[in-house]
Amino acid sequence: MNTTELTYKNVARQMNERLTIKDKTGNLDLTGISNFDTFSNVYITCLYQDVLMRVSSLNIQTTGDKSAQDFIGIHLEHGADSIKLNSTSRIHTRKTDVSEIQERIQNVILEHRVAVDLEAVNEHVPEVLHNAKVHPFEQFYFLRCGFSKTEGFFDIAIGDFGYGIRGTLKQKSEYSYLASKPHMYSIEKSFIPKVTSKNEARGMGLSELHDYFLEQSKGVLFLSSGDGYYLIENDLEKHSVTSGNLEYNLNGVQILLRFFCSE
């Protein structure tokens, strides 16, 4: 039997093929999936919550000993204390401070002796957390940390299913033209300094995050919003920045920060 491993690169395409909605009944076929990365889990969790708002029932098929809970954060713990390695947490935007989450992520890194640049994590992750806190339509977002000792990276994935980047930017008159353009243009725009729906002092966080990953010899920044994505993928052999359309259109913003460990 063919098995599929879900990654940030194929999860949208896979969900487009595996999710059907007919007469207010959803069907999500997760059979044959052998594994998933940190981002995929957060993406599917956001998708699950998004679909639940549009259907009266959602059936999920899995293979053998796997259950839906293995793929989707369904029964989630809340708050900063729930943040553990390989576990998806549901974070209340109003009840949890960015600093609490940041401190907990730092503790996870220290507990598991992950040799990443802690200063960089502490500098850039709060910007993403702050965005997730102020932008989502719902009052919570999802967060998951993953660590691959063999491949030497630490993943932080954060996702919501709110207005998304295009929905947020278009509220400002100078960016209203983005409403009629594919999501990928809004995402690209959001990485330019001072592009924000808020006042001029803002709009620097994503730009700083972007430039940090651009400068790394190894690292991944993947951001999806609607049916658009943006990817900075650096390793020793190639440095690339790609942007484009995804096959599934998921509300909100989902982001992966992959920090590589020092040798």
């Binding site: 194929n10 500098e123 700083e208």
Partner: protein
């Protein structure tokens, strides 16, 4: 020198908020002609700056062991520039990392920043070089 702790005047938590509150504190101190130490502590290390008076300009000293985040510095610079006060300040810096952060802020905000590095005075000016954000993007659907 009397210590002025930002933690006494803010309950906010992000580095950017600390930068904003530090800038407001600096502006207030300036208006009251009382220049003291402004210190912001956050859990991402210590965002710390010390303000010194001089005969003709004000020095914001970022000590070598301080690791201020880019957003903290950006917010201070933005706020001072917004009040037309930035030209009165000079940032004393001690390491490459802080220099690079100030260089990026200068480019992104298109403003000049006076610095003192290794006791040499200079001004970081916005670069004519294209921003890193304008690198080549390959379009490909996934």
């Amino acid at each position: 020198m009397k210590m002025f702790k930002l933690s006494n005047i803010t309950k906010r938590t992000t580095s950017r908020d600390h930068g904003s509150d530090a800038a407001l504190a600096i502006i207030e101190l300036l208006h009251n002609h009382i220049i003291e130490k402004v210190e912001a502590s956050s859990i991402d290390g210590v965002n710390s700056v010390t303000i010194h008076t001089n005969t003709d300009e004000l020095m914001i000293d970022i000590s070598d062991d301080s690791r201020p985040s880019a957003s903290f510095l950006d917010e201070i610079i933005y706020r001072l520039d917004d009040k037309n006060l930035l030209h009165r300040f000079r940032f004393r810096i001690h390491n490459d990392r802080v220099f690079q952060k100030l260089e990026k802020i200068s480019n992104d905000r298109v403003i000049s920043i006076n610095i003192n590095w290794n006791d040499k005075r200079k001004t970081i000016k916005p670069s004519d070089k294209p921003s890193k954000a304008k690198h080549k993007i390959i379009h490909r659907d996934l």
